[in-house]
């Protein structure tokens, strides 16, 4: 958290996203709140269908949020009209999972990276070229050699570098990364993770890093938030949360992550069953149907996120640590 300070860049209050499925409603994100401080990286983990990607997309208003508020540097995004929202969104950029399909295969790399500048008419001519060259250099792609090539000529890792360069063209405050390394091989994944760490320092970025890989998320994040079925279970500093998970779901999730070490005693306790359908979520705590510690209280009353010290918050009636509070 060394670079992070107390200035809130992004504040999310009771964010909800509900999709219609025929006559039914799926609440993909069911009221989550968190703050993102300047210079920090918040990791958002959870299994497929927990709403982590939908959260990222709703923050960019790629999918409309159906409730709650999103404050970017104090400005509320959801109540703005289209033009105002578009203007505010200049501060936010997003990078997606599939780097190859995120880029137009028939455009030249330098034009892809320059597109945000062109859209906002921020630079042209020599200035535009020099900004683009600088960005490509920053992400490790030589503009003199590769600037005129087409996106289709690059591998996944290189496409992800180009996506990153494009996202930085607007000099954003906030970068939302949605599973940006999950399609890459480990050696390429390490390159991209290190690159993001370097660029974060250099550009003073604040990041929301959405991923399912627990080791990747811990590596890059200052704080981590765990989602289950549209709700936040737990949020806290990475090292604390991984060492002392307070929510039973977090503990199972960490137990299922396999460490690449054959001599380490690894937990083989597995979580039974599968997540319930978001069409018909359980009453009270959404995790209670798979939780070994669930009681009647869990069915009757929904646990709210509460502080258990050291910036660690948990939504559980019977947390594994800090229960004395």
């Amino acid at each position: 958290m060394s670079e992070a300070n107390n200035k809130v860049v992004l504040s999310v209050k009771d964010l909800e996203v509900t999709f219609r499925k025929g006559r039914q409603r799926v609440s993909a994100v069911a009221g989550i709140s968190f703050d993102l401080y300047e210079g920090e990286t918040l990791g958002l983990v959870g299994e497929s269908g927990c709403g982590k990607s939908t959260t990222g997309r709703a923050l960019m208003q790629i999918v409309p949020s159906t409730g709650g508020q999103i404050f970017v540097d104090g400005d509320e995004l959801t109540s703005l009209n289209k033009d105002e929202a578009r203007n505010l969104r200049r501060k936010m950029q997003m990078i997606f999972q599939d780097p190859i399909s995120s880029l137009n295969p028939r455009r030249r790399v330098k034009d892809i990276v320059a597109e945000p500048l062109d859209c906002w008419k921020l630079a042209k001519g020599a200035e535009r070229d020099s900004i683009v060259s600088d960005l490509l250099n920053k992400v490790g792609i030589d503009p003199a050699v590769y600037g005129n090539r087409y996106a289709r000529q690059f591998s996944g890792g290189q496409c992800q570098r180009i996506s990153i360069a494009r996202s930085l063209a607007m000099r954003p405050r906030l970068l939302i990364c949605d599973e940006v390394v999950s399609a890459l091989d480990v050696s390429i994944q390490a390159q991209i993770l290190n690159l993001l760490e370097d660029l974060k320092k250099e550009y003073g970025l604040t990041m929301l890093f959405i991923a399912h890989d627990l080791a990747v998320v811990k590596n890059i994040s200052d704080r981590v938030a765990v989602m289950y079925l549209g709700k936040l279970c737990e949020i806290g500093p990475s090292d604390t949360l991984y060492a002392k998970p307070a929510h039973p779901y977090t503990e199972f999730l960490l137990g299922a992550a396999l460490e690449a070490d054959p001599e380490l005693e690894q937990s083989s306790a597995t979580l039974g069953g599968e997540p319930p359908s978001p069409l018909n979520p359980p009453s009270g705590c959404r995790f209670r149907t798979r939780c070994p510690f669930a009681t009647e209280k869990c069915a009757a009353e929904e646990p709210q996120l509460r502080d258990i010290g050291e910036g660690h918050q948990v939504a559980c009636h019977f947390p594994l640590v800090g229960a004395h509070q």
């Binding site: 030589d142 590769y146 000529q153 591998s155 480990v186 390490a190 811990k218 396999l258 979580l271």
Partner: protein, 358 residues
């Protein structure tokens, strides 16, 4: 899955699978692509062998070639795959059909595209029972329900009539496993069986495979890119790079005393849950080589910090370390695990010309 079951190299008679100098070459418009470039190994009974490598290392093509599954045209297979006395290379379709299911079966990565979406799962599992084992409909149905129970699908009688789209990813993978195990194969090839699944579901499926391997006394080849999976679930591993084996040995030995710089680089570029956050990751510069343009030397040499002139001229062969059937292919092997190799860190500023496709 005990670690005691080691390489059975000392006892070739006991080997279930003997692969010798296996090559799989695809004829492409741009030339011959050696996806598997001369692979030899043995697999003992009841052994779990992990095959690891990055995309394009040839691990999937290797497993498909062992199964005898490859396109009919534009592919050349050389060498030998002897499975329990049956030669797979050059076998006719009828020969292969005799082996598939009963001797060798395969689980694929994506259960949704491997299952027929318009056929009930009970029928898909029962198909081989009726065709291969000659069971009648009622016998097959009873056995299918047994198999569904075995792979942990709740209320199997009801699920018998379910379509694949009605099941979750984890459940579909259980159905795939049931299909593979229907005729009691002696060798199970699992190609990235948990890659699309969530971690908690992955743990369920891996535990299930463990349990079934013991119960059914199978050998398993587990193909994966996930080092966590191989570390915890295999007896022995093969590390592949550019279509060849670069290191092979018992899982413990390879993780602890790897000799090949690529193996170390792979291990060190993997983020770990046990490391504090913001631990700088080691990276391997560059990208895997283009198989169409392989040179005479070691394929890893252009990315290797220990490479010498010899590495780019002469390809190293697999040599034994003398420990537990541990082999490596490297001219400048890592001496001592205490001395860390200096793999380049940080952003790669130079990406070589030939690293760009097209």
């Amino acid at each position: 899955m005990s670690q005691e079951i080691n390489s059975t190299n000392q006892n070739p008679a006991g080997d279930l699978l003997v692969v010798e100098n296996l090559t799989t070459t695809f004829q492409t418009a741009r030339g011959a692509l050696p996806a598997v470039g001369g692979v030899s190994f043995r697999l003992g009974a009841n052994e779990i062998l992990g095959v690891v490598g990055e995309s394009g290392s040839g691990k999937t093509v290797l497993s498909r070639t062992i199964m005898g599954l490859q396109p009919r045209t534009n592919v050349e297979v050389g060498g030998s795959v002897l499975l329990d006395g049956h030669q797979i290379v050059g076998a006719t379709d009828e020969d292969l059909r005799d082996i598939w299911g009963t001797k060798v079966a395969m689980i694929f990565q994506d259960p949704m595209t491997s299952l027929n979406p318009v056929t009930k799962i009970g029928k898909q599992i029962g198909e081989s029972l009726q065709v291969r084992l000659g069971m009648n409909k009622a016998e097959a149905k009873a056995r299918v329900i047994e198999l569904l129970t075995l792979v942990g699908i709740p209320s199997p009688e009801e699920r018998y009539d379910a379509y694949p789209t009605q099941l979750s990813g984890g459940m579909r993978q259980r159905v795939m496993i049931a299909i593979a195990l229907a005729c009691n194969p002696t060798l199970l090839l699992a190609d990235e069986p948990t890659t699309g699944l969530d971690v908690t579901i992955q743990a369920q499926i891996l535990n299930l495979l463990d349990e079934l391997q013991l119960k059914m006394k199978m050998s398993v080849i587990l193909v994966t890119h996930d080092l966590g999976v191989v570390a915890t679930r295999t007896d022995r591993i093969i590390v592949m790079y550019a279509g060849r084996i670069v290191e092979m040995g018992t899982t413990k030995e390879v993780f602890r005393n790897h000799k090949m710089p690529y193996t170390r680089a792979l291990l060190e570029s993997t983020p770990r849950v046990s490391n504090p956050s913001h631990t700088r990751l080691q990276t391997i510069p560059g990208r895997p080589p283009n198989l169409l343009k392989l040179t005479e030397g070691c394929a890893f040499a252009p990315r290797c910090s220990r490479a010498t002139e010899k590495c780019s001229q002469e390809r190293p062969t697999l040599e034994p370390t003398g420990v537990d059937g541990h082999y490596f292919a490297c001219w400048n092997p890592l001496e001592d695990q205490a001395a860390p190799v200096s793999i380049q860190t940080g952003t790669i500023k130079e990406i070589g010309e030939d690293n760009v496709r097209g």
